[in-house]
Symmetry: C2
Subunit: 199 residues, 2 copies
């Protein structure tokens, strides 16, 4: 409906998750009349993220160094690992202030319909970390939905025989939802009430 | 909560209209794991819009030339002008296929609370266009809300004494809303049923 560049921008914005055609149009016109320095800041932020952000060598969290802030922090316990699906889940758990160990970010959950199997997740890297013997406890904090439960079940079957204390976040999280949307209190309670899995 | 570049991007995205903190985070992580060429396309679209898109010398609509597509089109009647607030309203009216004249984009509506007065809108440019004598009819298609009504009332008082046929879009549009959200049928009916203003 619009000429060249405006329509191109609306199309590109419309491809973003949660941005429909009307929102894309609204954002495009906002940017069109916005101060050029504001748009430049957005452009720079996009370029910087792609250029500088990478994934932590150890845990798979996002970072601008070889290792993330948490893996570099000597005050964090190296004996407990909390396994999550995505970097945003690390932030959600950090907000509860309930956990002082390290993380392992899988990069997703087992989802046969979307063609995501165990080999597509950072499970091999997790086993390598556990091989050193320093870790004694693993907390499975995948999303409380079908894919997250399947992933935790899969990991528990693999980790319990290794003699580790393996737990899953307690119910209390609304089922069928996303971990990142849980409020701090609910997520904190789920941490406290985590239940041990005995194979 | 995040390191450098990721947080910067979330902050910048969160400044866009209709994008809350959770959506900004979701979009940022989508872009983080997206193909670099997809992000490059978005970056290019942003840069192109700011570099190439400007406002039509005649009507104030968005364009990449000196004059917009509609003002350049000799098949469009030069005797009727439809006055709208924003370029997106031009697109909304075009979708009805009810109107074959030209447009005039005011760039907003009179809104004393936001400090927008008649002098901040492209009203002087409208009067210049009308001075040539070619235009015989003006359709006031501002938003059906308080600011849009105030703007149309202001314009009608100015234009009716010039001997022009001045009309306002018919009721049928839901009051208190935005013109751009009207469906084609409703907006088409409003065009058909527009009522003449007699000073």
């Amino acid at each position: 409906m619009y000429e060249g560049a405006v329509q191109d921008l609306i199309d590109e914005l419309g491809r973003l998750p949660g941005v429909g055609p009307k929102s894309a149009q609204r954002i495009a016109f906002h940017l069109l009349s916005a101060d050029p320095t504001d748009v430049r800041r957005l452009v720079d932020a996009l370029i910087e993220v792609k250029a500088r952000v990478r994934f932590c060598d150890i845990c798979g969290n996002v970072t601008q160094e070889d290792q993330c802030r948490i893996c570099r922090d000597p005050r964090r316990s190296a004996t407990v690992i909390c396994v999550v699906e995505e970097p945003k889940d690390v932030v959600a758990v950090e907000r509860t202030r309930e956990f002082r160990g390290r993380y392992h970010v899988l990069g997703g959950a087992i989802n046969p319909i979307a063609g995501v199997g165990p080999d597509d997740l950072r499970i091999k890297e997790l086993l390598t970390r556990l091989a050193s013997g320093e870790v004694t406890e693993v907390i499975l904090a995948t999303d409380p939905n079908v894919e997250g439960e399947a992933t935790s079940t899969y990991l528990a079957r693999m980790l319990v025989p290794l003699g580790l204390t393996v737990s899953r976040l307690a119910s209390g999280l609304p089922v069928g939802g996303d971990l990142e949307y849980a409020d701090e209190v609910t997520l904190g309670r789920a941490f406290e009430g985590r239940r041990r899995i005995n194979a």
